[in-house]
């Protein structure tokens, strides 16, 4: 390792590398184990546990210090040297800790959740591989490596979504997820290539940190100018679009979000880790890494899309009946908030929300996992034909699953953003800063904070609906089938410990000693931009109070609707209901407008290939064969024909003469006499 910044303790890098590499080793070991081996779970868990400790040490060493950077030459291509290295700053240290911290309870949970599966060790192989890719993603310093891990994350997510690969829905979902992610990858790759062509380096530190190259470059007269040269400015936009595509694909933003609800086909523990807490946050992380690339107007676009995604996903979540799908759309909605925060310049709040959201959403998914597991249990025990994820069959579970219920309440309150939870701190931060940002901008842009605000009430409603339907009222399945037996409980310690751990992490003390003011949170303070406005604005007081009072009303309304009256709140046939229930018809639109035309294009190409290109070849072939046939004909009929004519002539003469030699005595005699006669006649006449 060269180029180490002098005063750094090199062991930090060793810890970081080890934290990343341990899951990889675990994955390799598990890969070699027999598929049912129970040791696999503990190997992976141990690896992530050690990784967690190491990450904590790295975090402690790096937090609020100078960025640490080390690199080594990977390979040289032409005159370009490509380095591989580690970049540790607040952002990556936080992510490193966050990912391993969330992965740990999920691992523990998984050992119980997957214990009956036939391919137990494969599951942990994939899970560890995912941890490796995700941890690698957050610490690498080169865009090439970043891209590599970016794709590996998508790849391991592909493996895990399709873990039960005999289910058709699962494999369709993982294909969809990978291809959608690929669209984003293409964007990211294009962006990296553009940046490389512009700045001749892949190094994130040089490009984006502090006195960075990107920050210094300017757009002027339609050219993107920096010290290393200039290219047309349009390519700066293309690069930003590329980055945005990558973000949209990974973090499930409109219009590339449709894979995430489908990805719920994977095991629930996987959904908790990958599709709620870590991988989907990678998009936000990427934005955090390349933040200087975006200009103000591009950030505005980002904010608009984030806001729209948040709103759209929330409306869809209102009507879904699948437990995991509701959570998935809620994830999309929350990710929309993060993007919105990035767009409005609330860099710190965005990452803060990322961290808090990771905990409580993971918690909620694990709760869902427990519920689904128990429902599945009932289903199998009583041979019922029901969907274990459908919330219509649930209800009143709070008495059966007390620990789960408490965890669920904590998670929901955090998601709603009630004070004393972590969600309150981060979400209100975003709302407040969005309002601040819209000050002094056009009226249209005021819609963004307003939309975010409205969305937060929608969130309250659908979360309350979910909670009420699952945990309150009476058990609807029992009402339908009174004869079934119920043997359900919170499950073993592998279920309870992660839930409790995550529930604690979803409360305020982990992040801030002051439960009401987000700007006092230590995480936020370290990440906030320099020009942050202090608490001087009216929004800081009004918004939290307004939001929360109304939230309580909405919660009560939901409770009233679903428990007291137990009816549907919306007309089931209304347009809005159908729009929401069918997820805004986006899947259908994509299938009709994009997938079909592309497949059609493929077919057309093939037709073109077979009939036009190959047809041309065949035409050449046929015409040359025709020429050949023509010459052959002339050869046969004209050249040979002459010869044949001569032969035929000779033959016919011969045949003519031969007729006289037919062996018939009388014919000879006749000829002879005829000739005699002719001689006589001639004699007489002459």
């Amino acid at each position: 390792m060269n180029n180490a910044i002098p005063y750094t303790d090199p062991s930090i890098f060793c810890y970081a590398i080890l934290a990343v590499a341990l899951p990889l080793f675990a994955a390799l070991i598990n890969f070699c184990l027999p598929v049912k081996s129970k040791a696999a779970g503990w190997i992976s868990t141990l690896a992530i546990l050690v990784g967690c400790v190491l990450s904590a040490m790295v975090f402690a060493a790096v937090w609020n210090q100078q960025p640490q950077h080390v690199q080594t030459l990977w390979f040289t291509i032409g005159t370009t040297k490509v380095f591989a290295g580690i970049l540790l700053n607040n952002l990556s240290a936080m992510m490193l800790l966050l990912v391993s911290l969330i992965a740990l309870p999920v691992h523990i949970y998984s050992t119980a959740y997957m214990k009956c599966d036939d391919r137990y060790s494969r599951y942990f192989t994939y899970l560890s591989f995912f941890c490796f890719s995700m941890l690698g993603l957050v610490i690498v310093d080169s865009l090439v490596l970043f891209y590599a891990f970016w794709e590996l994350v998508g790849f391991s997510s592909y493996l895990l979504i399709g873990f039960w690969f005999t289910r058709d829905k699962a494999v369709q979902a993982n294909k969809k997820a990978f291809i959608m992610n690929r669209i984003g990858d293409i964007g990211l790759l294009s962006a990296i290539i553009i940046i490389f062509a512009k700045f001749h380096t892949f190094d994130i530190a040089t490009l984006f940190i502090n006195d960075n190259l990107v920050f210094k470059s300017v757009i002027h007269d339609g050219l993107w100018i920096s010290a290393s040269g200039q290219i047309p400015a349009v390519w700066q936009y293309v690069a930003c679009i590329g980055v945005f595509m990558a973000v949209a694909a990974k973090s499930a933003q409109f219009p590339l979000h449709t894979w995430l609800p489908d990805a719920m086909e994977g095991p629930t523990s996987v959904s908790a880790l990958i599709h709620a807490a870590t991988m989907v946050a990678a998009g936000v992380f990427l934005l955090g890494r390349v933040y200087p690339l975006f200009t103000d107007s591009e950030l505005t676009v980002l904010a608009i899309i984030g806001c729209f995604t948040a709103f759209m996903a929330a409306t869809i979540a209102l009507t879904q009946n699948d437990l995991k799908r509701v959570l998935a759309y809620s994830t999309i909605s929350q990710l929309g908030y993060m993007i919105l925060a990035m767009g409005v310049g609330a860099y710190g709040s965005s990452l803060f929300h990322l961290a808090t959201h990771a905990f409580f959403k993971c918690l909620l998914f694990l709760v869902a996992g427990v519920v689904i597991h128990e429902m599945q249990h009932i289903k199998e025990e009583n041979n019922l034909d029901i969907d274990p994820q459908n919330i219509h069959y649930m209800g009143g579970l709070r008495k059966k699953l007390p620990v789960t219920f408490i965890a669920a309440v904590v998670g929901s309150l955090a998601l709603i953003g009630i004070p004393l939870t972590s969600g309150y701190l981060s979400k209100d931060g975003i709302l407040i800063q969005a309002f601040e940002w819209s000050e002094g901008r056009s009226a249209w842009l005021k819609l963004i904070p307003a939309g975010a605000l409205f969305t937060s009430w929608l969130t309250v409603f659908y979360v309350s609906r979910l909670m009420v339907k699952v945990f309150f009222g009476e058990f609807r399945l029992l009402k339908k089938h009174p004869e079934i037996k119920l043997h359900i409980s919170d499950g073993g310690w592998q279920y309870r410990v992660p839930l409790i751990l995550l529930a604690i992490c979803s409360l305020f003390p982990l992040f801030s000693l002051n439960p009401f003011f987000y700007e006092k949170a230590w995480l936020f303070e370290s990440l906030k931009p320099a020009e942050f406005m202090a608490r001087e604005n009216i929004y800081h007081t009004i918004i939290p109070i307004g939001v929360n009072i109304l939230s309580v009303f909405v919660m009560y309304a939901a409770y009233a609707i679903y428990v007291k009256r137990n009816t549907f709140s919306f007309p089931q046939t209304g347009f809005l209901y159908r729009l929401s229930y069918n997820q805004w018809y986006l899947d259908k639109i994509y299938r009709k407008a994009i997938v079909k035309p592309i497949l059609g294009l493929g077919k057309t190409c093939f037709w073109f290939d077979r009939n036009v290109i190959d047809g041309l070849i065949h035409l050449i072939e046929r015409s040359s064969r025709m020429v050949a046939a023509l010459t052959a004909w002339s050869d046969k009929h004209i050249v040979d024909g002459f010869l044949h004519l001569m032969a035929a002539l000779v033959q016919s003469i011969g045949n003519f003469a031969r007729k006289f030699q037919n062996g018939k005595v009388q014919y000879y005699l006749y000829s002879m006499l005829l000739i005699v006669l002719i001689l006589f006649v001639l004699k007489i006449l002459i």
Partner: protein, 182 residues
């Protein structure tokens, strides 16, 4: 018209008529037997031509020898010939024979033409023979003269003919043997 001339016409009519019948008949047996008639009629014509020995020889050899031989041959190859008979029934005019008829008629025309041109009765040597009385008359007997001539003037041909006859005899006998014993 003298009796001789009448006889000549009758004889020649019979000869030509029977020959034509033999030629046109589709039945082999009939044509063989009618051929007898032709030969007898010819023998008669020889008599009228003042060659009584030749006429006798004709009757003896032809009728007694050759026709018997033909009849034998016919009988020995019977089945095939009978088949031929059956096949040939019914058709009077056969297109296949037309060229032969034409040939024969043309030949006849040519020969008759030649005969008329030659005017045989007025040939120099015939005139001379009549003048020198070297002409056979019905009163002469020619047999004695023929016998003398055969043994004197025509001895060499006579001997040659006898050798030829011997050869033909041997040859015919050889040919007629069964193949297997050859």
């Amino acid at each position: 018209m003298s009796l001789v001339r009448l006889l000549f016409y009758v004889m020649s009519f019979i000869a030509i008529g029977s020959a034509l019948y033999a030629a046109l008949s589709k039945n082999l047996v009939r044509s063989i037997f009618i051929f007898f008639v032709t030969l007898f009629a010819l023998a008669g014509l020889y008599v009228i031509a003042l060659a009584d020995f030749v006429a006798v020889t004709q009757v003896v050899i032809y009728v007694g020898g050759i026709l018997v031989l033909i009849l034998f041959a016919f009988m020995l190859s019977g089945r095939e010939t009978l088949n031929v008979i059956q096949q040939q029934k019914g058709k009077f005019v056969n297109m296949a024979k037309v060229p032969a008829v034409i040939l024969a008629v043309l030949f006849l025309a040519v020969i008759v033409n030649i005969i008329l041109k030659v005017d045989a009765d007025n040939l120099p040597w015939v005139k001379q023979a009549i003048a020198q009385k070297n002409e056979i008359t019905p009163a002469n007997s020619t047999i004695e003269n023929i016998g003398i001539n055969l043994m004197t003037t025509y001895l060499l041909p006579f001997e040659a003919i006898s050798v030829l006859l011997l050869m033909a005899l041997v040859g015919a006998a050889h040919l007629s043997r069964k193949e297997g014993s050859a």
